[in-house]
Amino acid sequence: MNTTPDEERLALWVEDELDATSQAAVDAWAATQPEWLERREVARQMKALLGASLPAAEEPPYAEFFNARIAREIEREAAMAEPVTPAAAEPVSPMVRPSGKTWRWFLPATAVAGMVLCFWAGTRITPPAVTLAAPAPLVPATTPVLYTPEKGVKADYFASASADAMVIVLDGVAAIPDSFEVPDTASTGGGPGASTADIDPPTR
């Protein structure tokens, strides 16, 4: 081949994507083109290096949960997209529709009156005396299922309606060392946490 191959053919040649006949033809042309030979060599080396180091497929963590969450989201969207029942969709007749214009002016006054009433009621209510002796034992209410990501950790759940409190006891968690410092991302008053998602905005 004496003429320069077109751009597409050269691109495919660099990537070893040509069929045998075309490959041989471009090989003959490239024999005198050290720049293109080097470009193909770089491509081959890079493919070998990246292909051996980065997996083409990697299961996402908690793969079964991954699928279940997708299915749940699809079901939720399908339920939302279902047509409303004819009764619910039936428009209100203009004959029975309340006159919005008339009542609209009463709304602010009603709201203010309601707030005043609530405030007055609040000042009249006295909290019950707190008895310090013999507090009611914590009775487990409807016990939720507790999930612990670490093996060997046992979780117990207690709730008390009268004390308005709930307690989760984790048994088997390693003690937090004194040297542990709360990272910036978990602090409330700190600045913004560092991003680990490292991708720049597209310059389009």
Binding site: V42, A56, I70, E73, P149, S195, I199
Partner: protein
């Protein structure tokens, strides 16, 4: 390749069933392709939590658009294209300070219960694993220094093994643009990974 053709034929059959509303068929499609999509996105955003969420988004969007999918392209290529859009949308809407409310340690391998249903496996020897992880870290750091377009081109080509035309479809650009992006991306990677190159 015969294996690839069989896989494509299986995908087509599953897509047809999923289009008819068969959720089990779609679940199988997710299982078949989640690994590649997750790996591609993870290499792009470098954050497991974001990659997990974005991969989910890809499969939900794919379900929503499934009726419009025509078998002109491979199902995998179509998914990569949705993933490409999801990653770029994510980049645009991402807050400047990053949205890492969930600590990435949640997904740390050594904290996962070995009895969990889907436990990641480690089949390499400790030495190999250490060396491999170190090399992977260097490559990921080098990839992070590329522009998103260059990074995506090189990931789709050299990691995911897509053909030129498929990359052009996914990235919605011409073959010449793919060629140019790959050339410059590899040149920069070669410079950044000089030590690794020389040792081979």
């Amino acid at each position: 390749m015969p294996g690839e053709l069989a896989t494509e034929a299986e995908d087509e059959a599953l897509v047809a069933r999923a289009k008819a509303g068969d959720m089990k068929a779609y679940d199988l499609l997710v299982t078949r392709h989640r690994g590649r999509i997750y790996a591609m996105i993870r290499n792009m955003v470098k954050n497991e939590t974001d990659a997990w969420d974005l991969s989910q988004e890809v499969f939900i969007k794919a379900w929503q658009a499934l009726s419009r999918f025509e078998a002109k392209a491979r199902f995998t290529t179509w998914l990569y294209r949705i993933a490409h859009n999801a990653v770029y949308d994510f980049t645009r809407r991402r807050r400047p300070e990053g949205g890492d409310e969930i600590n990435d340690e949640v997904f740390a391998r050594d904290r996962i219960d070995p009895a969990a249903v889907a436990t990641p496996t480690e089949s390499r020897s400790p030495d190999d694993a250490l060396a491999g992880d170190e090399l992977r870290g260097k490559i990921e750091a080098a990839l992070a220094k590329l522009s998103p377009e260059h990074r995506e081109a090189v990931i789709l080509k050299d990691v995911q093994g897509l053909a030129y035309k498929e990359i052009a479809d996914v990235m919605e650009c011409s073959l010449g643009t793919v060629m140019s992006r790959l050339f410059y991306a590899r040149q920069k990677l070669q410079t950044l990974l000089k030590d690794e190159y020389d040792s081979r």
